[in-house]
Amino acid sequence: MPLNNDADATQDELVQLIAPNGERRSNAAYDRWVSDVDDAGLQALYEDMIVIRRIDAEATALQRQGELALWPPLLGQEAAQIGSGRALREDDFVFSSYRENGVAYCRGVDLTDLLRVWRGNASSGWDPYAINMAPPQVIIGAQTLHATGYAMGVLADGADSVAVTYFGDGATSQGDVNEAMVFAASYQAPVIFFCQNNQWAISEPVRLQAHVPIAHRAPGFGIPSVRVDGNDVLACLAVTREALDRARTGGGPTFIEAVTYRMGPHTTADDPTRYRDANELEDWAAKDPIARLAALLDARGLLSAEVSDAVKATADDVAARLREGCISMPEPQILDVFKHVYSEPNSWLDRQQDHYEQYLTYFDSADADSAASNLSKEANR
């Protein structure tokens, strides 16, 4: 079946403030949203991206060493996550998929909490209300409705915080994402749909999901949309700030399509060489989000050896803490699996837990009996 290959070809319509070669592009509409980002601000964004790339590399290594069961790398998507994540206010609420570790970093997640799920020690890593971010969502697109509902609640409360939902290009095929846009438009909910179009839904290319640029769909729902260069951290910051402002001031939802590229596998269980042309990776490597900001910083004399060393030291420190947190994570307790299934007592579950506790006690005592018996045999010899 022929596929439309043009869905993603219209790069020229992307909002871009930093060109791939690091040149700062002026943009009448969006420069004002980042006019406060001074030299220190640019350096901070650079550090964030270096750190989350390092987190990603360290977690991937931990997976390869058998310390994590799985890891979903974000390599290549640093600008989209840091640019949008750093735009948010503390009282905004994030509903993400499973790849937004950079966003979680911006929310102030405890580093160990990033790994709990992937180590198999917990169903989620953090208390959502502690960092105002829901646990990672594995069901594709389901979280977009949660964000919209949350935003409806914000509206009902008369508050001005915003719900931001992250999802990928593949998710836009899901009913839930489309239903979320219907609800968001109907109620003018203060929600931002942040689509990281990283070109691939595991092995399915974006052209299998979309015959027009994904951002072009949202206006059909009555939702303004913007396509942004997802490898340009400044542009991602600008478009997210604009969308946040619209939501806070009663303008309703916005759809952002951040055009980016997943440079690594879908997860550590995936092998992209089976479905992806190496040339494609090369093309996108030339648009690397960190390299281009580095080029801009360098051109402005903001990337001295001192700055580079400091950033590297921070990343080293974060990576060391991540590794230490992973390896020293306490093993979960068996009976914890019965906790929090319900808020209130449930007779079925209470009975099963009771039976299992008896079972464990029975075998513990049987082991003890057997050990005692062996000891007495030893003594009698």
């Binding site: 169903s123 949350y150 409806m152 009902a156 239903e179 808020s343 007779s347």
Partner: protein, 338 residues
Amino acid sequence: MSTMTFGRAINAGLRRAMEDDPKVVLMGEDIGKLGGVFRITDGLQKDFGSHRVLDTPLAESGILGTAVGLAYRGYRPVVEIQFDGFIYPAFDQIVCQVAKLHYRTQGAVKVPLTIRVPFGGGIGSPEHHSESPEAYFTHTSGLRVVSVSNPQDAFVMIQQAIASDDPVLYFEPKRRYHVKGEVDEAVDLNATSMSDARVVTEGSDVTLVTYGPLVPTARDAAIAASDDGVSVEVIDLRSLAPIDFATVEKSVRKTGRLVITHEAAQSGGLGAEIAASITERCFYHLEHAPVRVTGFDIPYPYSKLEFHHLPDLDRILDGVDRALGRSNSLSSRSGLEG
């Protein structure tokens, strides 16, 4: 104490819950101006406003998913699914999100969501309007499932469901909406629990377990059986997840015989769960294998034949005869009952 229909009792319970807690919001298709296709929410939008009684777009997953988001924000949404067969598009949100969010967040996020589902057959509707999907949800940990059978329970249990910090599926037997009964609106909500089964009529020969739309039919069967010298104890489960097995067990230890009846298809249904659980608990007290009188394992049939599918008084009595080893429709068969 006042007399009201089943539907009116739910309406009164919803009204009371909305008055008591400003975080209670109603969501669903056509529930506002129209008052719902069964008029259960009649007048509530007028009295509480469109910000608390939300007419939603026609998207069941959307309704459930946004309700989850509202729960994140501290609301207690009450969702109406227009007809039982329309719940399937929302299945993922219910079993993967609603049911698991509390567990997944180690108790940090509560989902005090009530999902009202008019269910069951007997009103001559076209396909997708008469289904009994309760077993799909009783199979899912994290959900509570209840079904009401009379106006008093309807009034009390809708409020208990809304007050529960757990998500509750509240199954309403739509063919009983117009049945009238006494409702004590001054009743203490804490005096009973929606998790407890209720003994409808006491008896000593056979325990007959049912819920929702078949409770009145089961009671009629008990009356008919007593004319025949058989004493049937009817139990209305009220809660389908968890089932109050203690009450059923106590009854079966007394009667030694168990019949379960529901409209839903037999295989993998609640009858199977009840038969197995009660057999485990009181095997040596049983005088006969548990007997199921259920809907057939077929798609819900077209309305002119639905009354063959739905257990009625005579099919239930036949089941009672089977449990008693008396002459019954299968007694001419040799070997095991099929």
